[in-house]
Subunit: 386 residues, 2 copies
């Protein structure tokens, strides 16, 4: 059999490949978007896990939209409007895939900021969408470019990660959120608001969801990989019921439903009286690591390198002197530190800013210090200062 | 947003809708393909579930192809050839969906027996395949029709459920298996062999997998929903590594990977010294229920009704006098017994044999007796004898 045309131009995830290399003994990884494994709230999940075997009803086939008590919980906590509903997905990655399959025809236009989340590029590529990029500024998308795209009348959806963007860590300002929402309403574009890092804010006040300013023009993707654990593969997708229903149809074909025992354990975790404490502890840990990484970088980076400050999330974006970032990332791996080259976050043919994505949530402070030493060596070897 | 063209002709699963009605108090359901919840091997899974909280590594992001120790186990037990490999899926439903997405272009020809598994019709519909049906005989597909289709040179894949077919319960003979394999090799057609019910044989000897006669022309889908539990959503897909690799790429986009804690629990269950005893007990229970159902039917069915005998699986196929089977199923629901009308297992425009699919694994023997009384009343009300 030949592989389908839609798959032929899709590259396997470089990140998932580099993660394999990053697991080699002695390599410190700043490559993945991995939360800290030692901080998983397993102590809060233990009672729930230990009672699963006494709950056979959780092991039977379940409803496609999700485990009913979990959906009820979200209905209350998210204060969904009456004409909105939710679907539990096998990770928010599935949520994005379902959206593309339910609402995109080949060549439909999807707008994204560049650089952008690789998993989204893959999903929209598989849907054979026409992905068009606009530049990202320090406070969000370039609004003039965005409006110019929207004004063509041909844009179906705008995919965005407004809270601590992957890969740059950028957080949209309030003004940008309001303006994007207004543009989505004005030009009838659907905002796909992906917020996996939203709860990982360790500095400043949370800003309203962009979709809160255009609720009927939005679908919102929440992930439990960063605040609970990734291995359970659970995410949540909310929006107008008219849009959730077709997504349920696609999910029936995709996997019938997501793991019910894992949904029950997630519900118990979210309702646990100490869950907020867990989140506070996690934010504190990630802030310490962020500060440790940036302090090291400030001290040791050669001329021509710059990184942005962030108020949360898992990543910073380190621009480097003009060089082949794939070769730089390989030199880093050879020097026992794994990072992700900027090129993977752009579509083919786009202008690539020479940069690296650095994760600060999965390595200890002392590992981060060592990692910076190794990275600086690799940069000095591979990049000529401007 | 408008829903995608590929989704517009897909009907939501009637079965999943009828399952909701079947959960009404007082209704006995012979509608779903539900295993017996009281027989879930939770006693064998309990130790494993209770140690999850002590295994944080199971809660981190995992490999897309599956949990490595589980893949190793399958490699040994399934005796995969060196150039074959496996991918763990979020239920075998996902396996089928991945195959369609990785290998089908719109209008590609897929052959199936009619009637056929509704979830496969949905998947191939979403892939915009050209599904062509051939008739099913008592020992498998009509081989002359199959060869005539294959001989066109345009068939990409043949989807089949050779062991205790859903919905008819038919099990292919050895001769049919060998002939189908030979035809797949001769005409270079890929056999998609879906075997969720294979381990549920309660009479006679197991026959070789059809794919064992054409291993390099096959992909095999195994489900753990019937022998472990459905709620954990795990299945396995095996075949040539050249074909598994594109499937891994699609799975990256679809959900990154399946739940790792559930994969670890499944591995422990499969390796449990008492797992074979569990299977033997399950087969014994289902045989008793099958015999109870068919005995009741033999005694009470009106003229013009017939059912087939089966050697395993979960279903029998009850042909009824010519009538609108949707109305008959509704009359049955009104009479507090849920069944599935034959029409849902055919594509639009096909000749539908007037029949009902009856499940015998989810109701007790006394419930089955009551269900037959109610069903007979509904048949007498809704169908005129021939």
């Amino acid at each position: 059999m030949k592989i389908a045309k839609s798959l032929q131009q899709i590259q396997p995830s470089y990140i998932r490949e580099i993660l394999a290399a990053a697991q080699t003994q002695g390599v410190i990884s700043l490559a993945g978007g991995l939360p800290d494994g030692e901080s998983f709230p397993l102590d809060l999940m233990e009672d729930s896990l230990n009672t699963l075997a006494a709950s056979p009803q959780l092991f039977q086939y379940g409803h496609t939209a999700g485990y009913a008590p979990l959906l009820d919980y979200f209905k209350q906590t998210e204060q969904q409007p009456g004409h909105h509903s939710a679907i539990v997905c096998t990770g928010s990655q599935q949520a994005l895939d379902l959206i593309a399959r339910a609402f995109l025809n080949p060549n439909d236009i999807v707008v994204m900021e560049a650089p952008s989340y690789l998993g989204a590029l893959q999903v929209f590529g598989l849907a054979q969408a026409n992905v068009q990029s606009i530049q990202q500024r320090a406070d969000g998308p370039d609004l003039a470019q965005l409006e110019a795209k929207f004004a063509t009348g041909e844009v179906v959806m705008f995919y965005a990660v407004p809270d601590f963007h992957n890969p740059t860590g950028v957080c949209w300002s309030l003004e940008v959120r309001q303006k994007v929402a207004q543009l989505c309403i004005q030009y009838n574009v659907t905002l796909i608001e992906d917020v996996p890092y939203r709860e990982l804010r360790f500095n400043g006040q949370a800003l309203p969801l962009t979709s809160s300013f255009c609720p009927d023009n939005s679908l919102v993707l929440r992930s439990f990989s960063k605040i609970a654990t990734p291995g359970i593969r659970l995410g949540l997708l909310t929006g107008k019921t008219d849009w959730i229903n077709p997504l349920i149809k696609v999910k029936q074909s995709s996997d019938l439903h997501s793991s019910v025992p894992m949904q029950a354990v997630l519900l118990d975790l979210l309702k646990h009286p100490n869950f907020d404490k867990h989140l506070a502890k996690l934010r504190d840990l990630y802030q310490k690591r962020y500060l440790a990484l940036t302090e090291q970088l400030s001290q040791k980076l050669p001329a021509g390198c710059q990184f942005n400050t962030v108020d949360g999330g898992m990543f910073i974006w380190l621009t480097v002197p003009d060089c082949n970032t794939y070769q730089l990332a390989q030199a880093a791996i050879d020097n026992n530190v794994a990072v992700v080259p900027s090129a993977v976050f752009y579509q083919q043919g786009e202008t690539v800013e020479p940069a690296l994505r650095l994760n600060f949530t999965n390595a200890s402070e002392s590992e981060l210090a060592t990692a910076v030493d190794r990275l600086v060596t690799a940069i000095n070897e591979s990049c000529k200062p401007i």
